[in-house]
């Protein structure tokens, strides 16, 4: 209640003054505040984790009071101070860790800075573009506890505790190798390249890590190859495309396969060195060490025969063309194409054999083995060289030319085909159609003379005999020629693919031949049925 005061107004009666309470309730407030404060302090102290120092080579991205330390994206610590070391060579970071982190602060624990990074192997830490860098931790639970660490500048490629084995790869070229590049097995990433270096002899030596349990797939005969990018090949066998994964297209990769083998399957120790093949195909080809060179002399067009074209035996590739040259003798106007081929007899006869191949070849040649050009890739018109056995051929022997042993050659079956066709055409040409026609004319003239005479019957009889002659002698001959032509057609079909230019022309020729033969046959059949047509002409 308020009292207004007027000057001179009577004094208000004094109110009774009660006893002052001994203990004012208001003291509850500070007591409560003190209790809460003390409890907060206690909580903060007991929940305080250890303080550690980490030495990094650069403080880039690390901010005092802001940068966090994370493990599996969970915050487990925070940077408090960032300072240069005394000799100005490094940056010392003081960080306070969460209580639970105490267990993991051991000697082997590693710290590294995660900054946004696009590097071989992965795009890392893009989130840091938004939030700033953070410090990652690779904890270990064994070993003595530690409070001072030396930080790595990049995330370690192997987490401590990650199980697996390391191996070495030796390659001629770096290819897509780089630290962090994945290692694939059946297109699954199972490891990564750790680092590489150039060796004294110019080759590249790389160390890879393969996780358990995939490392057990690796044996002594495992093949490693460079699987990066897209492998596309256009060869005598066709177009070939292969790739391991999208990552490998972009960044590269190494793949391995342990092929089935009849040989021994040895285990390998950690650190075993393998050769890194350039690509899958190279890896799949077993290593052959014995290479024999032979010379093949061709006297026909070798169009489509490239260096590297395969040379096959019974359809199995046993080598390849190494060189193609030209030889001319202008006096005799003879031209020849010497082709140098490399034959790896191990492909046929197994590895590790003795040097008896030369004699073997001699034997084979004696038995009629010849080299012949064959059609290879239809798309490119490429040719291959086939070693075939020919019956009834002139005996030939292994000769020598330019220092190389020669294998005798035979013309390609394509050439044979045109020869056959030439024969057919010749044969057809030999049929004395003109004579037959002249005879028929004479006979017709004679008939008009003797039309009303009994000699007509005779003439008809003799005509009949002639018709018989035609059907008995000429027609079968024609038939057999036609049959042979058909056979040749079939065999030609087998050798020639539908689309090449030569084939088109050939086909056209053959079709025309066929038509001609068909027409002849029709005439003959008709004549058989209506021999009088020779005289009277065909009824329309």
């Amino acid at each position: 209640m308020n009292e207004k005061s007027e000057p001179g107004s009577p004094a208000v009666a004094q109110a009774a003054v009660g006893d002052k309470p001994k203990f004012s309730l208001v003291w509850v407030v500070p007591i409560v505040a003190a209790i809460i404060g003390a409890w907060l302090v206690y909580k903060a102290v007991t929940e305080e984790g250890p303080t550690i120092t980490i030495v990094f080579s650069s403080g880039d991205g690390i901010t005092a009071g802001k940068t966090k330390i994370k493990y599996r994206s969970v915050e487990i610590g925070s940077v408090e101070e960032v300072r240069l070391t005394e000799d100005l060579s490094a940056v010392e970071v003081t960080a306070k860790m969460a209580v639970g982190a105490k267990e993991y602060l051991r000697e082997d624990t590693q710290f590294y800075v995660v900054r946004a990074r696009v590097a071989a192997g992965e795009v890392q830490g893009l989130g840091t573009l938004l939030s700033g860098a953070y410090i990652g931790m690779s904890p270990s639970t064994d070993g003595p506890r530690e409070k001072n660490f030396v930080g790595l500048d990049e995330a370690p490629l192997i987490e401590p505790g990650e199980e697996g084995r390391r191996f070495r790869l030796r390659a001629d070229n770096l290819g897509s190798l780089d630290a962090g590049v994945p290692v694939y097995y059946h297109q699954i990433p199972v490891g990564r390249v750790l680092h590489y270096q150039l060796t004294q002899d110019g080759s590249i030596s790389a160390e890879i890590f393969v996780e358990k349990p995939y490392d057990e797939m690796i044996k002594a005969h495992t093949r490693f190859w460079n699987a990066g990018g897209i492998e596309a090949e256009l060869g005598a066998e066709g177009f070939h495309l292969s790739t391991q994964s999208l990552t490998s297209i972009l960044i590269g990769g190494v793949a391995f396969e342990t092929p089935e083998t009849l040989g021994p399957k040895e285990e390998v120790a950690e650190g075993h060195e393998f050769f890194l093949f350039e690509n899958l195909r190279a890896a799949q080809s077993p290593e052959y060490r014995i290479k024999n060179y032979y010379l093949l002399m061709f006297e026909e067009s070798v169009r489509g025969l490239k260096i590297g074209a395969p040379i096959e035996f019974l359809g199995l590739p046993i080598g390849e063309v190494v060189d193609v040259r030209f030889e001319a003798d202008f006096e005799t106007m003879e031209f020849r194409v010497p082709v140098l081929v490399q034959i790896e007899p191990e492909r046929l006869l197994g590895t590790g054999l003795q040097v008896k191949t030369q004699t073997r070849v001699l034997d084979l040649v004696d038995h009629g083995m010849r080299a012949q050009l064959g059609a290879g890739n239809v798309l490119t018109g490429g040719k291959v060289i086939n070693l075939v056995f020919v019956e009834d051929t002139e005996p030939a022997a292994v000769g020598e030319w330019g220092g190389y042993p020669t294998i005798p050659t035979i013309p390609s079956s394509l050439r044979n085909l045109s020869a056959d066709i030439g024969v057919i055409v010749d044969k057809i040409e030999d049929i004395p159609f003109d004579e037959i026609g002249a005879n028929l004319n004479e006979t017709a003239a004679g008939i008009s003379q003797i039309v009303n005479s009994p000699e007509l019957t005779e003439a008809i009889a003799s005509l009949r005999k002639m018709a018989d002659q035609l059907s008995d002698e000429v027609a079968p001959a024609l038939n057999s020629v036609l049959t042979k032509a058909e056979q040749t057609l079939d065999s030609a079909k087998k050798q020639i693919d539908a689309d090449s230019v030569t084939t088109h022309e050939l086909r056209r020729l053959l079709m025309e031949l066929g038509d001609t033969a068909q027409a002849i046959r029709t005439i003959l059949e008709y004549l058989e049925r209506h021999p009088e047509a020779l005289i009277m002409g065909k009824e329309e």
Partner: protein
């Protein structure tokens, strides 16, 4: 040369006795009758409160001042507000804003905010305890009167409650973008505002001055 103080002659221990008072706002001379405890006297002309006689003024205010002290410490030490996205929360202290302003070269602004939100309340609390704690026992520390004067000067510059409103507005503004997580210090700050206002309301300068005078006399007498 000093003037005589009419008030001084009339004072006695206990409740305020009848005396003259000059209104600060209208300069009217008022004669104030003896005020029983928990009563207030107002100027007859303009209604300005001349003085009150709150019961247990010293003890109450002192208790509240201690509470305020603890709360002030908590408010400054512990995390105040955290802001950001999950996994990327930035923790701030009460003083973080000042530090950020300073880092942005807004030095004057930083000083203004520092004073009005942290320093002024701290000085108020310190001053109150400095005067009231001994006074509760009838003693006084040297320069208590100076301190008392300065308390009066500081009072308009302690703007914690305005700061609180600023925080609320910011929380609304930022809440839509990301998480704003209040920390312990924020709650302590709220309580501090309440407690300090409460303390200042239980404080009646008149009573304190009286008691200071008495303590001075007692001190001089011994």
């Amino acid at each position: 040369m000093t003037g005589e103080s009419l008030h001084h002659l009339d004072s006695e221990a206990g409740s305020l006795h009848a005396c003259l008072s000059v209104c600060h706002e209208c300069d009217l001379l008022n004669q104030v009758p003896a005020l029983p405890p928990d009563r207030a006297a107002r100027c007859s002309r303009c209604g300005h409160v001349l003085f009150r006689n709150p019961a247990n003024c010293v003890e109450k205010t002192l208790a509240l001042s201690f509470s305020a002290l603890i709360l002030w410490i908590v408010a400054n030490v512990f995390p105040f507000l955290s802001f950001g996205l999950p996994g990327n929360l930035i923790e701030t202290n009460l003083v973080s804003g000042v530090v950020s302003l300073y880092e942005q070269n807004q030095v004057i602004l930083a000083i203004v905010v520092l004073t009005t939100s942290i320093i002024a309340p701290a000085l108020q609390i310190a001053g109150l305890i400095y005067i009231l704690a001994p006074l509760n026992r009838g003693l006084r520390l040297p320069a208590s009167k100076q301190v008392m004067r300065w308390l009066g000067h500081i009072k308009p510059w302690s703007m914690m409650e305005v700061f609180m409103l600023g925080i609320l507005v910011s929380m609304v503004k930022l809440g839509g973008m990301a998480d704003v997580v209040p920390g312990i210090a924020l709650w302590a700050f709220c309580c501090l505002i309440v407690v300090l206002s409460w303390a200042l309301s239980t404080l009646e300068p008149h009573v304190i001055w009286e008691q200071l005078d008495r303590a001075e006399e007692t001190g001089a007498a011994t």
